[in-house]
Amino acid sequence: MKDCVVFKIQRYCIDDGPGIRTTVFLKGCPLKCQWCHNPEGLSSHVQVTYDDALCIGCRVCESVCPNSCHVFKNGKHLFLRDDCIACGKCASVCPVKALEMAGKRLSVGDVMKVVARDVVFYRRSGGGMTLSGGEPLMHSDFSFELCKAAKEMGIHTAVETCCFSSMDVIEKMIPVVDLFLCDYKETSTLLHKEFTGDGNEQILKNIRRIDEAGKPIVLRCPLIPGRNMRPEHYLGISTLASNLKNLVRVELEPYHSFGLLKREKLGISADYSNTKSLEVEEACKVAEEIRTLASNIEVLVKR
């Protein structure tokens, strides 16, 4: 089994499935959502992040970089990313963590060692492991092995996925995943393509297949001002949700702008540069609207 680039293993997660969980973020995503709040998950390669606000100008990075990517001009630190090979030397010496590595190659065993640490908390809270990203199904073999290992240890598994993958991958994952947290970003396939780079036909097929297989589904719907916050989409959400036999609930995720800062640190430009996070009250109104359209489904606003 090949290693995979993981950009974060976050313990004590209480929002990614039931109970107390450890969420494993795999790097790389087939979609390119304009509003992505985890832009470090877009590329499947290891990257270096740089936070200008933290740099104290000590120039230690300059002295260790093999490709002279760190240049200091007029007291300003310039990070020339084109030549960066993400060797990690600069991050390892940066005394203030202005430079950090986004991503690390890990084996299934490496990840499970961390996940296994909180077994007692999972058992008591009904929690477990959640795979997220990026898009975990982009690394289907690795994700499969992780979930398999977790199941063998009696750990509940959840996958947070955009469901943009081949049906084969879905079929493979179904037996080892206890809960699917499926993103549903946009009802209109044209707009979906505009916002994320691809249409939603395959995504819908996959969600239905998961439902047919009898696996519980949480439908996660980001609310992005100026993009998908339209009545037609709310209708789409309620229709899809009503048709799913194994729906646990719909979770609305109000847009927040943390992704913008992360993009800056990664040196990538933003397609959606809204700096104003969506007020929870606004999201609650949407939740109410969806509840009116489909009274039998639970709609929750994530905070």
Binding site: Y12, I14, G19, I20, V120, S125
Partner: protein, 703 residues
């Protein structure tokens, strides 16, 4: 008024207090007695003063009172000003602003005081009444026949008579108000034994109020409340009283301790505590005595949602499910106002220290107020600044660093230094026995300590329970452990610095070595479930417990090593040199059992797992404050705490706060009247604590 309205009316009274006020009647009487009493014979002096004060007090009753007994606070009279002690704590500037400059009489008047810090034998009061206690004293005094016993008896009579007169006057006042139930009770208790739940609660409150407000001391505890109240609870249920009615009664009782404010007492803290900044009235439920009453007390306490009394819960795995569910529901609702101990572990730890069943019940766990113990006669506190001892071990206070071949030798030296500190302290206390603390009598206190009654002696004269308890507070564990980690890295593992060079760098407060300091600051730290980083904390803790085990102590003495810093992490950090964990000189040391400020990066489960690695079974005391910025479901909280206890964790106090809220509270205190935080071992009103403590709390709070 409807019941709920009465509760909120009574609650609101606490928030309308005036910072500058004092228990004016007491102060006026004591000021009058000041000269007169100077000639009294010493042995009956305090009893006479106590009786005179009691006879001079009015008997105020609010129409909404259910349990009677309150004190009247007012601004001091002209010419009356704060004592030296208040001036010191309150601050000269604030005193000049709030009080007249020239004062002839000071308050609180030290003519009458006790040290408090104890837990009366409430069971004895309820089952025997003051009359029964007096009977016993008479018999014992007769049996002993010595002059000291006769004097003790004389004073006891004087005190109990005065209490009875005062209760009778209160009964008359209640009668006039049409409160017949209260009037009937106060004609009988506290002189007679309690006869039902109401009279039991009324009796406890009456004596508790006299102890806290009239005798004038802080920190009187309620002890194992659900144990000694239980017979009255059962009786009440048998008589057909519903549990809802009982909970209401308990609510009235549990609100009362919030009335006891600081200015009336001898032992005053910095800012007028409204309410109850500085008097900690511990109440214990659960443990070996868990019943339905425990659940009902907890419900009543939760509905009140007030910081007093200080609620200590003993959690045991075998407790019934209803009580366990209530614990976490309550904890999630009132957060910082409840602390939970893993009682299975507490018991094991105490048994390991050789304590008997009775002693375990007696000693655990009312903060600094041990049952049947008068603080200074039988209980002593010592504070060990762990990082300072680490610095001592590497020669920071000597001319040069000692030579060590490996880290174990440093840890050995650290342990030896701990031992020297501990032994020196014990020797010092032994030298003091029979001298300083003999003066401390507490004429009221002595009537409610069974051993005093049996021996006819005041606590300081041999009446206190013969066990001696030493609490060694081990402060700044995380800072100490991370410092040891820093030394290991630089001197032994990477061999980049000699110990002498490092010593010099620390003495220079990292000047010219900022990059090294940052490197140390960013090292793996205790509190992130990193086995290597946590192992230093375990080694440091074990070295201290080994040292404690070696200490030569008097017979019948126990030492409990608590990983605990009370309110001292800022104070002890202020005078401490730089430490090899990247901490600058003067910065805080770590608080209680928590990781150093800002170093817990892996979330609550990792932090709890790190803590659970500590050898708590060698300790049994101390506290851990879990600070969460986001509310979590009760089931999740329960899972966190129960998992922690399963892993070997000892104690959890929870606070829900975030930086933003605290910052706002500092700027707009009027909006946050009822915001409480878990400061060290208990809950405090955030806007009422001094600025420096607010800043410290902010520092240690996650975003």
């Amino acid at each position: 008024m409807k019941l709920e309205e009465r509760f909120s009316y009574l609650k609101n009274q606490f928030f309308e207090n005036d910072d500058r006020a004092c228990f004016i009647e007491r102060e006026r009487i004591l000021a009058r007695l000041d000269k007169k009493m100077a000639t009294y014979y010493e042995y009956d002096r305090e009893a006479k003063i106590f009786a005179e004060v009691l006879d001079g007090l009015s008997t105020p009753i609010d129409d909404q009172d259910f349990i009677l007994g309150r004190m009247v606070e007012a601004l001091p009279d002209p010419g009356m000003g704060p004592s030296k002690r208040i001036r010191y704590f309150y601050g000269e500037e604030a005193c000049l602003r709030d009080y007249p400059k020239d004062t002839s009489v000071t308050f609180p008047n030290p003519l009458l005081y006790s040290f408090g810090h104890m837990c009366y034998n409430w069971e004895m009061l309820l089952t025997e009444g003051c009359s029964g206690i007096l009977d016993r004293i008479e018999k014992n005094a007769k049996r002993k026949g010595d002059p000291l016993s006769q004097l003790y008896l004389l004073n006891a009579k004087m005190i109990i008579d005065a209490i009875r007169r005062f209760a009778m006057r209160y009964a008359d006042a209640a009668e006039i108000k049409g409160m017949s139930r209260q009037a009937e009770a106060l004609r009988r208790i506290p002189f007679e034994p309690a006869y039902d739940l109401f009279s039991a609660l009324q009796s406890i409150w009456f004596i508790h109020m006299l102890a806290s407000c009239v005798e004038g001391a802080r920190d009187f505890a309620f002890g194992h409340f659900d144990k000694y109240i239980y017979p009255f609870y059962i009786q009440e249920l048998e008589n057909g009283t519903s549990r809802e009615e009982i909970i209401s009664m308990l609510r009235f009782f549990l609100l009362k301790p919030n009335e006891i404010t600081g200015r009336a007492v001898y032992n005053i803290a910095e800012k007028k505590p409204i309410p109850c900044y500085n008097t900690k009235q511990y109440i214990i439920i659960g443990g070996a005595f868990q019943t339905d009453l425990s659940t009902d007390v907890l419900k009543a306490f939760t509905m009140n949602d007030m910081p007093e009394p200080v609620m200590t819960l003993f959690y045991q795995t075998e407790h019934d499910e209803t009580f366990k569910a209530q614990i976490f529901e309550s904890m999630n609702a009132v957060a910082d106002k409840i602390q939970v101990y893993n009682y299975d572990l507490v018991r094991t730890a105490m048994e390991k220290r050789g304590m008997s069943e009775d002693q375990i019940d007696m000693i655990t766990y009312s903060g600094c107020c041990s049952t049947e113990m008068s603080f200074y006669n039988t209980r002593n506190e010592y504070y060990l600044n762990i990082p300072k001892v680490v610095l001592g071990a590497i020669g920071v206070y000597d001319d040069k660093a000692p030579e060590y071949d490996n880290l174990e030798q440093i840890l050995d030296r650290f342990g030896d230094l701990c031992y020297e500190c501990f032994q020196e302290y014990i020797n010092y206390i032994i030298r003091l026995y029979g001298k300083v603390y003999n003066r401390q009598r507490g004429v009221l206190d002595a009537l409610f300590i069974a051993n005093c009654v049996n021996e006819c002696r005041y606590p300081g004269e041999g009446g206190a329970y013969p066990v001696k308890l030493y609490n060694f507070f081990l402060m700044g564990l995380a800072t100490g452990a991370n410092s040891i980690a820093g030394i290991d890295k630089l001197v032994f593992k990477e061999k980049r610095y000699t110990l002498e060079q490092l010593r010099q760098i620390l003495l220079d407060n990292y000047e010219g070595n900022e990059l090294l300091r940052l490197e140390l600051k960013n090292m793996a730290k205790f509190g992130n479930d990193d086995d290597q980083a946590d192992s230093y904390a375990v080694s440091v803790a074990n070295a201290m417990f080994d040292a404690i085990d070696k200490v030569k102590k008097p017979d019948q003495a126990f030492i409990i090593g608590d990983i605990y810093s009370l309110d001292r992490s800022a104070i002890y950090g202020k005078d401490l040199e730089a430490t090899p964990d990247g901490r600058h000189a003067g910065e805080y040391i770590s608080e209680n059992q928590s990781p150093s400020y800002g170093t817990s990066l892996e979330g609550a489960t990792a932090e709890l797992r790190s803590l659970a690695k500590l050898p708590f079974v060698r300790s049994g005391g101390g506290g851990y404050n879990l600070s969460l910025s986001k509310r979590i479901p009760t089931e999740t909280l329960r899972a966190l705490v129960e998992s922690y206890f399963e892993l070997g964790g000892l104690h959890v106090g929870l606070t829900y706060v975030n930086k933003e809220m605290l910052q706002d509270a500092m700027v707009n205190p009027e909006k946050y009247d009822d915001l409480t935080v878990r400061l060290y071992g208990y809950s405090e009103f955030f806007t009422k604590i001094p600025r420096w403590q607010q800043v410290e709390y902010l520092e240690r709070t996650a975003k």
